[in-house]
């Protein structure tokens, strides 16, 4: 079993991918579904690496900009952010309940939980918009001071990623409600779920960054 194969299998804990002959070591051969599924996971991890680099760059800018100047004044952050955090974590949990339901063969429960997770994702975005609104009302705009600049940039970059995640959730949801969940869609389900968990973890990281240093 090659590296990418076992890695995806461990993370998924879902329907096992078809056997892979060689993986990294030997050139498995492009044999239809198996390689498509593997390639999708590789593509996903590469995408996650790219997103991580974007936020690593922003974090390093954040730390440097904060350390270099004397104009950084801590931002009074709206408490609704904690509610949003709980909503997002909940959406990840529900998403995995949904995947477990699918694994157990319970399609209708899968559809229900997946829809709930999608709704929670949209709720998070609305909650973020509400947090922005509160900051605006309190007179903190993007150019007010560097702390508010970074707050808006980081939350907006995360929200931008999340829009992509919600689009993927909706896509799966529509396919599921139309009873179109063939084997290829299982890959879409797993890819979407892993990406969503990544965005969830990313948000927790941003919360720590913003509250500790922001």
């Amino acid at each position: 079993m090659g590296m990418s194969g076992s890695l995806t299998h461990d993370i998924l804990n879902g329907p096992p991918p078809p056997p892979i002959e060689h993986g990294w070591g030997g050139g498995g051969g492009s044999d239809g579904r198996g390689s498509s599924r593997r390639a999708s996971f590789t593509g996903l991890f590469v995408l996650i690496a790219a997103s991580t680099m974007v936020f690593a760059a922003l974090t390093s800018a954040f730390v440097v900009r904060r350390g270099l100047s004397d104009d950084w004044t801590s931002l009074p952050k709206p408490p609704v952010l904690f509610v949003n955090t709980i909503v997002l974590i909940l959406s990840s949990v529900v998403l995995d309940l949904s995947r477990r339901a699918l694994k157990a063969g319970n399609r209708s429960r899968f559809n229900l939980w997946w829809t709930v997770a999608t709704a929670l994702g949209v709720t998070f975005l609305l909650g973020q918009a509400y947090a922005w609104r509160q900051l605006n009302d309190a007179g903190f705009f993007i150019a007010t001071n560097p702390a508010s600049s970074f707050f808006y940039v980081l939350t907006a970059s995360h929200a931008f990623h999340l829009l992509g995640g919600v689009a993927a959730l909706l896509y799966v949801d529509v396919q599921a409600l139309r009873l179109r969940l063939g084997p290829a869609k299982r890959t879409a389900i797993d890819v979407t779920a892993i990406f969503w968990h990544f965005l969830d973890g990313l948000w927790v990281y941003l919360m720590v960054l913003l509250y500790v240093w922001g």
């Binding site: 030997g26 051969g29 492009s30 995408l47």
Partner: protein, 590 residues
Amino acid sequence: MSSPAHAAHHAPQGFIRKYVFSLDHKVIGIQYYFLGLFSVFVGMTLSLLMRFHMVNPNASVSWFAKIWPTAAAGGVMTPELYLSLMTMHGTIMVFFVLTTVPQSGFGNYFLPIQIGAEDMAFPVLNMMSFWTTFLALVIMIAAFFVQGGAPLAGWTAYPPLSGAGRITGPGEGMGQNLWILSIAVFCGASLMGAINFIATLVDLRCKGMSLMRMPLTCWTWLVTAILGLLGFAVLLAAGVLLLLDRTVGTSFFLPGGLYINDQIIANHKGGSPLLWQHLFWFFGHPEVYIAILPGMGVTSQLLSTFSRKPIFGYKAMVYAILSIGFLGFLVWGHHMFMSGMNPYSAMAFATLTMCIGVPSAIKTFNWIGTLWNGKIHFTTSMLFALGFVSLFVTGGVSGIFLGQPALDLYFHDTYFVVGHFHMIMGVAAIFGMFAGTFYWFPKMFGRMLNEPLGKIHFYLTFVGVYAIFTPMHFLGLVGNPRRYSDFSNVEYLAGVIPVHSFMSWAAYITAAAQIIFVINLFWSMKKGPIAPANPWDSTTLEWSIPSPPPFDNFAGVHPVVNHGPYEYSVPGAPQDFIMQTDPPEVHSES
């Protein structure tokens, strides 16, 4: 995420699906190639205008006034116009030529074939990647035509010049905004491309194509994709911050107390121009390797093929590529020795920079080792590959000077640097592209390029680029500053004006020689002799299929690889080359 490639492909019907919004990696590769070809002529024209202005700073040219009624009023270029030509020359060449052709062009066409795949892993993403790049080019070109014209902050877009808005120069209004937007869009396209390259290479290799049986071209495309993935993500983040500084008044990069063109800039405070330099060069240095690595891959492939010898030290080559890629992320500070950085940091960056010399030297010596005692066939593509080695060494040696902080303080803002990076990043990479073009054209278009024309083009270009860029090193030694549009009134540089004239003439002649290439390219596409499947007696998978390849590359057959990529002149073998797909017995005879 787009749907991955499936085993069964059907060739699309209709012009639009076949040639415009094609999902076929081969068509997309050719699209990238021609996008790069268009861009290189735009970039070259800009450089000719710069060379003309530098030696004729006060000449009045009537059609300049027609193109730029304000920036060249009366037909005389303003210094600001010169700077905007410089900025756009650098930007278009680096992003839309050096990044696009070797990786996205040749890589798209040949990576799937060389590893025995039917297409890229995500064909729809591949198509989107090309059209996003196209959009980025359109936005970049549009910067010429907005009010104030193209930006003048250089391809590195250092703030405050690039951040403070219109007040810093005519092109710093909408022109600079479009520049940043274009680069951001380009970053997105490159990320899509990188995802495709990595997933394809990791997961779609055919049976028997182990990593250590991959042609070195594939290794360089893989490492380039990783560099692009990590580098462009950072540039994207930096670009967004710069755009916010310009448009909504944040102060990420703009310090307080700026006084520009007799005006105090009051609405920014506390930002750090150095922060931009760090973020930019964290991308910018790996970008150098993005440009040059695929050229190294092509050169390795060609030196082996046309010496009829296995590549000397295949494994060492692979490890050298990997270590160049890794070290490339640790040396960005050597672009910033002038920024007043801590001398200890400078020393660390200088030491790491010297370390890159080691894998670079490994590659060079292995190339020489490959040539040694070979039966060298001096085809045009081989000549360009040899030219690549020559330029890589020349440009690399001047890099050792610039990597020393003490020397860089003197050289940094002189023509020495211009000579250095044009040799190693510009012309060497271009030679890699020419080598690739002459080698792969028969496969791509099913016809042969004209060899005599190719050789004339090679010799003119080879002598030409040395004539243009060698004198720059001497200009740097005498302290000729770069980025200036006019030296006619600088007393201590009076003696070098003839050198500048010589370089300008060399540039005109070298540029004219490129017409030979274009004629050869388009004429051969229609009228060249029909190419056989394997005109060069090469070993890699693309030469095992017809020229040009069928829609899904292997006509539904799954190729099986039994040999390494460079089995030339194997003792006991019936021919002096063993194809990677040949049955294993051929090898056992040896």
